[in-house]
């Protein structure tokens, strides 16, 4: 792990106020992100996984400062960008760019491809006239499209091609970090792999770092270096990809991995199944957010919020039942919640 992280996030929180009534009085706070800390090294792919509504996309938007954080710190390449206003943030936007989930909505249908990709270049006065066209052509080639398509409009492209355009736009400023918010989840499975491979290649060739937000564990296993598992606005486990996939420690990580389909009928697997729905982020349960659905929960989990503790070799877990050596002391889960693998 590199000594100076490219991105450092500490205690990041985002609470959305819920307004009610004519006077718009704040009735409640949606705690979308509730104290998240992690680091991303240069050239590293950190995947953020979790189910819908766990706050993973919000984390991505906070890092790119598309949303204002409620609390916490975002340090980008040594500069604290948390409190920078729109103008002061401008130079730092060159470092961190974003690829959006919906390749149909994130490209302005009225602009040509050339206009879309050149926009970041114009914003920083990086290229003009023939040089600009040259750079756009270069970017298009970099993402596997023919340079001639610069005069076309987004509606003339397929979903996968559009996402390539979104990636080209993100690359235009030579960023060090790209936040990818579910970049392939809107695409057909056959196209997903192509776009993922493109992103992998670009990462290797250009030494990029990614914060890759996804709900798809297959995608994450394919592209990630390290993985942060989020549940209800908090990171519950942060580990190297192999370590997490081989032996998830947090009960939620176990359940998440157990729920992912494995294309091998003979594969042995953890059959931990959790019941119930995610509690509302408006009123998250006290103590460990997961205790309402955790088959191992003890009294302490209901009272005391478990910190995200380092276990050594870069692994961090937020669970009272995992000791410092990485052993799980949960005993047997409540029987109704476990299905034995019969086959």
């Amino acid at each position: 792990m590199s000594a100076t992280p490219l991105l450092q996030v500490e205690g990041l929180k985002k609470h959305f106020p819920v307004h009610k009534g004519v006077l718009g009085r704040v009735a409640a706070q949606i705690k979308a992100v509730d104290g998240v800390s992690f680091e991303v090294a240069p050239g590293e792919i950190l995947c953020v996984v979790g189910e819908s509504g766990c706050g993973k996309s919000t984390v991505g938007r906070l890092i790119t400062r598309l949303l204002e954080p409620t609390a916490g710190r975002i340090v980008l390449d040594g500069t604290d960008v948390t409190k920078l206003d729109h103008a002061a943030m401008r130079p730092h936007r060159r470092q961190v760019q974003m690829v959006f989930q919906d390749p149909y909505a994130s490209l302005n249908p009225r602009l040509t491809v050339g206009g879309i990709i050149a926009e970041p270049l114009e914003n920083f006065g990086l290229a003009r006239g023939a040089k600009k066209r040259e750079r756009v052509a270069e970017l298009l080639q970099q993402v596997g499209l023919r340079p001639e398509v610069a005069n076309r409009f987004p509606h003339e492209f397929s979903g996968g091609q559009r996402q390539r355009l979104g990636i080209a736009r993100a690359l235009a400023l030579n960023p060090k970090l790209i936040v990818a918010d579910e970049p392939v989840s809107a695409l057909d499975v056959s196209v997903q792999a192509q776009v993922l491979n493109l992103m992998s290649d670009l990462q290797r060739d250009l030494g990029l770092a990614y914060v890759f937000v996804s709900h798809d564990l297959g995608v994450v296993e394919h592209i990630g270096h390290r993985i942060a598992v989020m549940y209800l606005g908090r990171i519950v486990e942060l580990a190297e990809k192999r370590a997490l996939f081989d032996r998830p420690l947090h009960p939620y990580s176990r359940a998440l991995l157990a729920a992912a389909p494995i294309p091998d009928p003979k594969a042995k697997r953890d059959k931990l199944v959790i019941e119930g729905d995610v509690p509302s982020p408006k009123n998250p349960p006290p103590g460990c957010h997961f205790h309402t659905r955790c088959p191992f929960a003890v009294d302490r989990c209901r009272r005391e919020e478990p910190p995200l503790r380092p276990l050594g070799n870069g692994r961090k877990v937020a669970c009272h039942l995992v000791d410092d050596a990485g052993e799980f002391h949960g005993g047997t889960p409540k029987p109704a919640l476990v299905e034995q693998a019969a086959s």
């Binding site: 790119t64 598309l66 729109h86 943030m89 401008r90 936007r93 060159r94 760019q97 974003m98 959006f100 989930q101 919906d102 909505a105 994130s106 490209l107 302005n108 009225r110 602009l111 926009e119 970041p120 914003n123 920083f124 979104g166 736009r169 235009a172 400023l173």
Partner: protein, 288 residues
């Protein structure tokens, strides 16, 4: 679209015929409006002096000499009707342009800068409460009157409608993912507003402009009819109807021709507006 385009380029005549067949309302309205505009523009070539008083020929019925007859002072109704088109079209066009430009700027600001929104919209609510005709009468009474005062008086109450429309479009457009993407690439607020948000307002604004134009012409005529509009020495359809209404039974043509012209112009503009609305934004048609 990609299929139809080369064909229209290759055979423009056929392209226009097809356009006319598919959009009869736009074409009918536009042809009628173009005719009226040409008449107004070349009024001196078409008609004689609209102010010449020949008492000996007063209240003459339409004939080969006086196509539309003469009024109670012996003035040529045809000439007055033709010249009256000038005032109506100038007022309609000016009010539409002024209201759209003002409304666009204010609406963009209100929609994009949330801090200004509440203040601007309350002011607009206030303006909307003022009846156009009363405001015009007050303004004309306070000043010397004239076409400019009439234009200003009609524009003020029309602006809030445009502001509301533009603001609504901006509020929808600013939530688009491509606007977020523009923020992420460090585009300035002004650039986002002009490049990504403004184009969304064009189609609904063109439609709204036609409705404003039609209503401005009607209000101008009403003001002239009430004697609160442009000075009486300038012939307008409104003051022609007003001064001739006493002779309606004796000489109906004095009221009929300016009345028909007024109805035709407003109809033509509304036809164009309806046609454009259906063509530019089918969703808007359902909303309005």
């Amino acid at each position: 679209m990609a299929v139809a385009l080369p064909e229209t380029e290759a055979r423009p005549k056929r392209g226009f015929a097809r356009f006319a067949r598919r959009n009869p309302t736009i074409v009918t309205g536009a042809v009628l409006l173009l005719f009226m505009a040409l008449v107004a523009l070349f009024a001196p070539l078409i008609a004689g002096d609209p102010l010449a008083i020949t008492p000996i020929n007063r209240l003459q019925a339409p004939s080969s000499e006086w196509w539309f007859g003469t009024d109670h002072l012996g003035r040529d109704v045809f000439a007055r009707t033709v010249y009256g088109a000038r005032v109506s079209l100038i007022v309609g066009l000016s009010v539409a342009i002024a209201a759209v430009v003002l409304g666009l700027v204010i609406g963009l600001l209100a929609g994009y800068y949330r801090g200004l929104d509440a203040v601007i919209m309350r002011v607009m609510d206030g303006l909307m409460a003022i009846p156009a005709i009363l405001l015009a009468i007050a303004l004309v009474a306070l000043t010397r009157g004239g076409v400019l005062v009439v234009i200003i008086a009609i524009t003020i109450p029309e602006v809030p409608r445009v502001v509301r429309l533009v603001r609504a479009v901006v509020l929808t457009a600013r939530e688009q993912a491509y606007v977020e993407a523009a923020v992420a690439t460090a585009s300035s607020g002004l650039k986002i507003l002009l490049r990504h948000i403004l184009p969304n307002t064009v189609a609904p604004l063109i439609v709204q402009a036609t409705y404003i134009c039609a209503s401005a012409i009607l209000i101008e005529s009403a003001l002239s009819f009430l004697g609160a509009g442009v000075p009486p020495e300038i012939p307008t359809w409104g003051n022609m109807i007003a001064s001739s209404r006493l002779f309606l039974q004796m000489a109906p043509w004095t009221v009929l021709f300016p009345g028909i012209s007024l109805a035709l112009v407003v109809l033509a503009i509304n036809l164009v507006g309806d046609g454009l609305r259906d063509r530019l934004d089918p969703r808007l048609a359902r909303r309005m």
